[in-house]
Amino acid sequence: MKSRLIMTAVAASVLVAGCATKKGFEQPGYAFGCPIGEQKVGSMDDLVRAKTATEGRRTTIQATEMRCSRAGDLLKVDANLNNDSSSVKRVSYKFRWIDREGMRAWEEESWKPLMLYNNSNMMISTVAPTPKAVDFRLVLMSQE
């Protein structure tokens, strides 16, 4: 009886510790390593929605995942783009860098053309051009 109680207590503490690791991992103002400020981001979909914009012709290519980390004092961003259609799609993208005051931290980047095979994913990676860039937006435009 006593050993069963101890076992239950150990299992519960392991479970709690596991949950604490998952929930307590992020520092406030960040989600999946990416800066979110005071926005409410409860899931990856929320984060992707908050950080992605479309300009010009709309594209069916969608960002599905985003993760950020630091490379020294620079913000590093990985974004997964998904083409779930049955045809090859062409899209261009650029990152917009934002400073602590919400102003542009860097000049407008050039559009980068990309080809995605049908039913495929592609990971795009970038590093902020300056330590002043503390936030970003991924901008997509169709090249069809």
Binding site: S110, W111, Q143
Partner: protein
């Protein structure tokens, strides 16, 4: 006579109607007019190389390392102004504030000419620069661009590979290197 006059009038009218239209475009937009080396290729290469280089351990750990830009060899079959590529890379790195640039070989004549000019009798000695004060670079940046072109009846495929290297001048070690590949296909 009347017929000729009418023809000339119609031709003049048609000529007048065919007017040109000029408009400004996005200098950073994707350019796909032809598949020769274009502005998008230049911007892609410059941005990728500059971002990669400023994350190189030697740049991060160095205290504003001094770099000199050497030649990027054009090994493609077309004319490419490789100086425009290195100028863009240099501008992006300079703006990033992690690297300083020393005068390069093509700029050396202008630099020494200016020093000589300031040392002439026309300048006040106290404000004129002295000889022997220039700072030598610790690293040199060089690279090359190659291409493979394949063409059949209605399809032309061009593959570009740009390679950039950062060499330590003192010990001859390669401190950083990166590549950017671009493929463009045109079908008629």
């Amino acid at each position: 006579m009347k017929k000729t006059f009418l023809l000339v009038a119609v031709a003049a009218l048609a000529g007048g109607c065919a007017h040109e239209k000029t408009s400004y475009g996005d200098a950073r937009g994707v350019e796909t007019v032809t598949n020769t080396f274009g502005s998008t290729d230049l911007q892609l290469i410059a941005e990728t190389m500059a971002r990669s280089m400023q994350n190189a351990p030697v740049i991060i750990s160095g205290n504003l390392p001094i770099v000199t830009v050497q030649e990027v060899k054009n090994k493609t079959s077309e004319y490419i102004d490789t100086r425009a590529i290195t100028d863009s890379i240099r501008a992006e790195l300079q703006k990033g504030g992690r690297v300083r640039f020393a005068v390069d070989a093509p700029g050396m004549t202008q630099q020494t000419d200016e020093i000589k000019r300031q040392q002439s009798e026309y300048y006040a000695k106290e404000s004129a620069v002295e000889k022997g004060q220039m700072v030598g670079a610790q690293y040199r940046m060089e690279g090359n661009i190659t291409s493979i072109v394949k063409e059949v009846k209605s399809t032309k495929d061009v593959y570009y590979k740009f390679n950039l290297q950062l060499w330590n001048i003192r010990n001859g070690l390669l401190e950083w290197s990166d590549e950017k590949e671009i493929r463009k296909t045109t079908t008629r």
